[in-house]
């Protein structure tokens, strides 16, 4: 899962996901952009008990998720039952790159950094 071409997430490496990830930048058509003003504190926390908490444009949400190793994606299901699918492009100890499965942003890579401030 560390290489972009290798989209298989293997057990052991999936443990890397169980942290708080702070939105660091967007990458669109090879160009890097910083998060907008409203997104300065955006994050996702993936717990080992398959619950998650996130902050997106200042709005906090939570729910459960399925980590699909073969499909290399995280399927987040919020409390209203709405599903958000995010493909894991790469993951390492310090960084997580996701692509959300929405038509509007499907070509944008969301780069997250592992939090050192928030206790996981």
């Amino acid at each position: 899962m560390t290489a972009r071409s290798n989209t298989n997430t293997h057990k052991g490496e999936t443990d890397l996901l169980f942290h708080t990830w702070i939105l660091d930048s967007y990458v669109m058509a090879g160009k890097k952009y910083p998060p907008g003003k409203k997104e300065q504190e955006d994050y996702i926390l993936f717990n080992e008990d398959l619950t998650y908490f996130s902050k997106s444009e200042g709005k906090e949400e939570g729910g459960t998720y399925i980590l699909n190793t073969n499909g290399a994606y995280v399927l987040m299901i919020d409390k209203k039952g709405e599903k958000i699918k995010a493909y894991i492009i790469s993951i390492s100890k310090q960084s997580l790159v996701l692509k959300y499965d929405f038509d509007e942003i499907k070509d944008i890579e969301m780069h997250y950094k592992r939090s050192i401030l928030i206790k996981d």
Partner: protein
């Protein structure tokens, strides 16, 4: 004659051979640990024995199969995730459906999808859980090779989804799912089966080239159009249309209304779509609001302008008897009211003929 028949049969057989393609599931080193069950027997309960028809990287339609059959292939996949052990509970799996699909679903997008429907059974034959799932991915229209290459990955992802769904539903203790941590170590199966929608086929894309003749109270004209739409049974089908047409006033209507010339510039806002009645038969409905300007020159050569706004509605039917290639027949009527100085109320009908591909 016999020789010709033999050659035809041989050619047909060869064509069938070439049109079948084997796919294999990649086994990746991944295991769901701390589970107290494993998948023992796989029963193939599908109506259709092939996985689906898909276009290969060159665009040729092929029939997809697993090399070792569905039972062996899924068994190997499940064993890698949930290894067999004497202290674990055997669970049997019935594969009710497993389909690989792909279709163009918009003017610039293809959708690739795997549909799977599984039933989990205890050794005694009690159904513990039933689940279905669509594993869907969208691609650009030009991404055929990538779609073809990734079918097996979507099969794996769909199977894994069903497995997680079963695990979460049964609340089997696991380090990844400690919701039930501290509960009994035996799998505590519930009979709570979630409801799920029945399978809906992935809509195929239709391309149509049509010629239409239109006539109304004041005008007659024609139109040629390209229309593309994704066929489905849910909601309104919204087509993509590019059209060019012309119309002429039937009589001396403009002069009768006291003008020597009328030029109309208008934009239309509204909704047009099809409702599928049965395969190949669609009701065509539309509601539009034209907004624009009329520039008029009266018989005394005096220029004036008129703000144009109105409402128009159309109703019709479209018949597409053959899915892959064939004729398209359409007929419809329309009604229009607008703040025009020359034709403020109008109605007419149109006939359409073309082909789909």
């Amino acid at each position: 004659m016999k020789r010709i028949i033999k050659i035809l049969v041989l050619l047909l057989s060869c064509n069938l051979c070439f049109s079948q393609t084997i796919i294999n599931l990649e086994i990746i080193p991944f295991e769901i640990k701390n589970q107290n069950f494993y998948i023992d027997k796989i029963v193939d309960n599908r109506q259709e024995r092939y996985l689906g028809r898909a276009e290969d990287s060159s665009g040729k339609k092929v029939q997809l199969h697993f090399q070792n059959g569905i039972e062996v292939t899924i068994k190997q996949f499940m064993e890698s995730i949930l290894p067999k052990s004497s202290n674990k509970t055997p669970i049997n799996l019935r594969v009710n459906d497993l389909k690989i699909e792909q279709a163009q679903t918009s003017i610039d997008k293809r959708t690739a999808r795997v549909y799977v429907e599984l039933s989990f059974y205890s050794e005694s034959g009690d159904e513990l859980y039933k689940v279905n799932h669509y594993e869907t991915q969208n691609f650009l229209v030009s991404d055929l090779p990538e779609i073809y290459k990734t079918h097996e990955k979507r099969v794996r992802a769909a199977l894994e989804y069903c497995l997680w769904s079963f695990i979460n539903n049964q609340k089997v203790p696991t380090t990844n799912n400690p919701i039930m941590a501290g509960m009994e170590n035996e799998a505590s199966f519930s009979s709570d089966t979630p409801t799920f929608d029945s399978y809906v086929p992935l809509g195929r894309w239709y391309n149509m080239l049509t010629y239409t003749r239109m006539t109304d109270r004041y005008n007659q004209g024609w139109r040629v159009a390209y229309t593309g739409f994704s066929d489905h049974e849910k909601d309104l089908i919204v087509p993509f249309t590019l059209a060019y047409g012309q119309s002429r006033v039937k009589s001396d209507l403009v002069e009768e209304r006291g003008y020597s010339s009328v030029n109309t510039f208008a934009l239309g806002f509204g909704v047009n779509g099809y409702i599928k009645i049965i395969p190949g038969l669609y009701v065509d409905l539309g509601l539009n609001v034209p907004v624009g300007m009329e520039l008029l020159i009266d018989l005394a050569d005096k220029k004036s302008s008129n703000f144009l706004i109105g409402i128009s509605a159309n109703q019709g039917v479209k018949i597409i008897p053959w899915k892959d290639f064939g004729i398209v027949i359409g007929a419809g009527i329309f009604q229009r009211w607008q703040t025009s100085k020359t034709e403020n109320r109008n109605f007419g009908f149109e006939l359409e003929l073309g082909f789909n591909f």
